[in-house]
Amino acid sequence: MGSRPAEHSDSREEFREFAVASQGHLRRSAYLLCGDWHFAEDLVQMAFDRIYRHWNRVRAADNPGAYARQVVYRCFLDSRKKHLDTVPLEHLPERASPTDPTETRLAVMEALKELPPRTRAVVVLRYWEDMSVEQTAGILNISQGSVKSMASRGLGLLREPLAGFAEASGRAGAGVRKQT
C-alpha cells in the first residue's frame, strides 16, 4: 500500500514529460487536419485524456508517440463524422496568388479542407509525418490499398488548386522542418 502513491506519482511525471515533449508536434499535425488552432489543441487534449487513462499500458509500449499520433488522428476522424465529406462545387474557393506566403498558407489550408477528412488524414500522415503506407494504414485502421488510393486521389485533388504554389513553397517551406 505504501508504495502505490509513489508509483502513481512517477507515472504522472512520466506522462507529463511525455505530454510536454510531444504536444507541440501533435498540435501541428492536428492543425493540418482541422485548420483551427483551438480545435487542434482540443484534439491533442482529448488524445492526452485518453492516453493518460491507459498510461500504464501505453508507457510499456515501444513507441508511446506513435500511439499518441494514432489517438489524435482517430479523435479527428471521430469528430468529423458529422461534417460533410465534400463541399458543393459552387462553394470552392477562389484561387489565391501564388506569390504571397500568407496566401500560400491560406491556399494550402483551403485545399486541405476540401479533401474528405480521411483522405486529408492520409495526406498529412504520408507527406507531413513521413509515415509509410503500412504505418498510415495502421494508424487509421484502414487497408493499405485504401491508403494508396486515398493518397493518390488526395494528391490529384491538391494539384489543381495548388498548381502555382508548389515551386514557391519549395523555398518557403525549406526552413520549416518537421518536429520529431
Binding site: W37, S79, H83, L89
Partner: protein, 514 residues
C-alpha cells in the same frame, strides 16, 4: 519544383507553409488530463457501468476567449438567494446508464432532436426581452449534449452553449472548478470565478472579458497592430454558469454565453513586425460565431442563476441528456429524410439492390444490400479539369487492379483494391474496395465517382479478424462482399443522367442529418 515532379518533397513543402506564421502559445495540456484521468479512475471504482466521460476541453475550447480584464456587463437583477431549487425532476422516466461530467458523443437522431427542440425549451427560461434562435446545422463538433443556440437581445446577439452531466461524488473540487470555470483557472487573477450556495447545490459563475490586446495576442499577432489608446478596450465578454447539485445523482447543468462587444481598432498601416505579406487588416478570429452585442452577453450572472428556479429547466436538462428518448416528431423528420434519400438513391441503382441509410453511426451512411452482401456507398460529383484528368487518373497503386476503357461520351475507370496486411501481403483473392469513375469527354461536365466499400462483417459468410503482431490494430482478412453495383450498372446510371441527379438530391439531404 511541382507536385508532379516530386510528390513527397513538394507536398511536404506546401504543408510546411501552414506554419509560416507564428503559432499560438501552447498551454499546459498535461495537467488537465492528469486531473481528469485521476478523477475518472476514482469514479470508475464507484460506477459499475462503463462509458468514461469525454474530455471537458471541448467546452473549454468552444468559446476560447483569451485572458482579459475584469468583467462587467449588464445590470444584475433577482438576487441569487431567491433560488429555491434547481433539482431536475422530469416527469418522464429517469434515464438509465452512466452519464459523465462533460459533453458526450451521442446518436445522430438525438443530435437532431436537440437541435430542433432546444429553442422551444430554452425560451421560457430566458429573461424578458431575450429570445432564442436555432443554431444552423453543421456548427457542432460532435458532442451531442453540447447544444448551441443564438440568443437575441434588443442590443445584439449572444452565442450560448449548454450541456448536462453528472458530477460523481468522487469528482474533486479541482476538477469541478476546472470544468465550471474554464476561463479562470485556480489562482488566476484574470476574470472571476465565484461560487454561490443555493438551495439544492452550488452555482459556479465564470465571468470574463478580453481586451483588444489580449485578443490579438491570442491570434499570435503583435500588440502594436492595435490602435494606440484602444488596447485595453474590452472586445468580448463571456458569462457562464454551472450548477452542481448536492445530490450528485441529479444533473449538473452548464450554460456558457459569449459575444463580441466591440470591434478591434487597428492602426492604419501594418506595423513593421507584422507578418510579411499578411492580410491587412487581420481577419476576425475563428470562433464559430458572429455573435455581437456591445452590451455584453444577453443574460447577466443573476439572470443565469434565476434560470435554475424555473420549472422548465428540468425539461431542458432532460432533452440535453444524451441517454433520453428522441421525440416522435424528430423521429418522423429523420425517417422522412432517410426515405427521401433512399428514393433518390434507388432511382439510380438496379432494382435488386436494397438501399438503406445507417444512422447508427454519428455520420449517416448509405448502405446497399444486394443478393451477395452489403456495401457502403459513397459518391460525389467532381469538377473536371485537364490536370485532373491527366494526373488523378494516371497511376495504379500496387495490389489494385485498374482498368480503363473508352465508352460512349467518356471514359470509365475502375479500381478494385485488395486488402493487404502490414507486410503488403494480399489477404484475399477478392477486393474490398471498388472505385468507379465516369470521366466525360466534354470537359465542362463533371466527373462522377462511386466507391463501394465492403468488410468481412458485410457478407453472410464467416469472417475472422486477427491482431497484427506488433501493431495496435487488427486486420480483417475477409471474405469480402462483392460489389452490389457493377461497373456497367454504374456506367449506365452515369450516362443516363440518373446518377448525377441522385447525387445532387442526396447530398443536401445527407447534410441535414449531419
Amino acid at each position: 519544383m511541382t507536385i508532379e515532379e516530386n510528390d513527397d518533397s513538394a507536398v511536404r513543402g506546401l504543408l510546411g507553409t501552414a506554419f509560416a506564421d507564428p503559432e499560438p502559445p501552447l498551454r499546459d495540456l498535461a495537467s488537465g488530463s492528469i486531473a481528469r484521468g485521476d478523477a475518472v479512475r476514482r469514479r470508475n471504482r464507484m460506477v459499475a457501468a462503463g462509458g468514461a466521460a469525454l474530455s471537458v476541453v471541448a467546452v473549454i475550447g468552444t468559446f476560447a476567449v483569451v485572458t482579459g480584464a475584469a468583467p462587467a456587463g449588464r445590470a444584475h437583477q433577482n438576487p441569487a438567494n431567491q433560488v429555491t431549487s434547481a433539482a431536475s425532476s422530469p416527469t418522464a422516466p429517469s434515464p438509465k446508464g452512466y452519464l459523465g461530467f462533460g459533453p458526450e458523443i451521442g446518436s445522430l437522431d438525438k443530435t437532431q432532436d436537440i437541435r430542433m427542440r432546444l429553442p422551444g425549451l430554452l425560451a421560457p427560461l430566458l429573461p424578458a426581452g431575450v429570445t432564442v434562435a436555432q443554431q444552423p446545422s453543421g456548427n457542432t463538433v460532435g458532442f451531442v449534449n453540447e447544444a448551441n443556440a443564438i440568443l437575441h437581445a434588443p442590443t445584439g446577439t449572444t452565442a450560448a452553449t449548454m450541456w448536462v452531466g453528472m458530477a460523481s461524488g468522487k469528482e474533486t473540487d479541482t476538477v469541478i472548478h476546472e470544468v465550471a470555470c474554464p476561463q479562470v483557472p485556480p489562482g488566476s487573477k484574470q476574470g472571476t470565478c465565484t461560487t454561490r450556495s443555493v438551495d439544492g447545490g452550488t452555482v459556479y459563475l465564470d465571468e470574463y472579458a478580453a481586451t483588444a490586446t489580449d485578443t490579438v495576442r491570442a491570434q499570435s499577432l503583435p500588440a502594436d497592430v492595435v490602435r494606440p489608446g484602444t488596447s485595453n478596450t474590452i472586445v468580448s465578454r463571456t458569462v457562464s454558469l454551472m450548477f452542481v447539485p448536492t445530490d450528485r445523482s441529479k444533473y449538473a447543468f452548464s450554460l456558457t454565453q459569449s459575444t463580441a462587444t466591440a470591434k478591434i481598432q487597428y492602426v492604419d498601416h501594418e506595423p513593421s513586425d507584422y507578418m510579411t505579406g499578411g492580410v491587412w487588416p487581420p481577419p476576425p478570429a475563428i470562433d464559430g460565431t458572429s455573435a455581437y452585442d456591445p452590451s455584453g452577453p444577453a443574460m447577466s450572472a443573476d439572470d443565469l442563476v434565476g434560470m435554475l428556479a424555473k420549472p422548465g429547466l428540468a425539461n431542458l436538462e432532460y432533452l440535453l441528456d444524451p441517454r433520453t428518448a428522441v421525440s416522435q416528431d424528430t423521429q418522423r423528420r429523420v425517417a422522412d429524410t432517410k426515405a427521401q434519400i433512399v428514393t433518390a438513391v434507388q432511382a439510380a441503382l438496379p432494382t435488386e439492390v436494397k438501399v438503406s441509410v445507417d444512422v447508427s453511426l454519428v455520420q449517416p451512411e448509405i448502405m446497399l444490400t444486394g443478393p451477395s452482401g452489403k456495401n457502403q456507398l459513397q459518391w460525389s460529383v467532381d469538377k473536371q479539369t485537364a490536370q485532373y484528368k491527366q494526373q488523378a487518373f494516371g497511376g495504379c497503386p500496387p495490389n489494385v487492379t485498374c482498368t480503363q476503357r473508352e465508352v460512349p461520351g467518356g471514359t470509365l475507370e475502375v479500381w478494385m483494391q485488395k486488402p493487404t496486411d502490414s507486410k503488403l501481403t494480399v489477404l484475399s483473392s477478392s477486393a474490398s474496395v471498388y472505385n468507379y469513375w465516369f470521366v466525360p469527354d466534354d470537359m465542362s461536365k463533371p466527373v462522377l465517382a462511386m466507391t463501394l466499400e465492403t468488410s468481412a462483417d458485410q457478407t453472410r459468410l464467416p469472417s475472422k479478424s486477427e491482431p497484427d503482431p506488433g501493431q495496435t490494430y487488427s486486420v480483417n482478412d475477409g471474405p469480402y462482399a462483392p460489389p452490389q453495383v457493377s461497373a456497367d450498372q454504374f456506367l449506365a446510371a452515369a450516362q443516363s443522367g440518373q446518377l448525377a441527379t441522385a447525387i445532387s438530391k442526396t447530398t443536401p439531404l445527407l447534410a441535414t442529418l449531419r
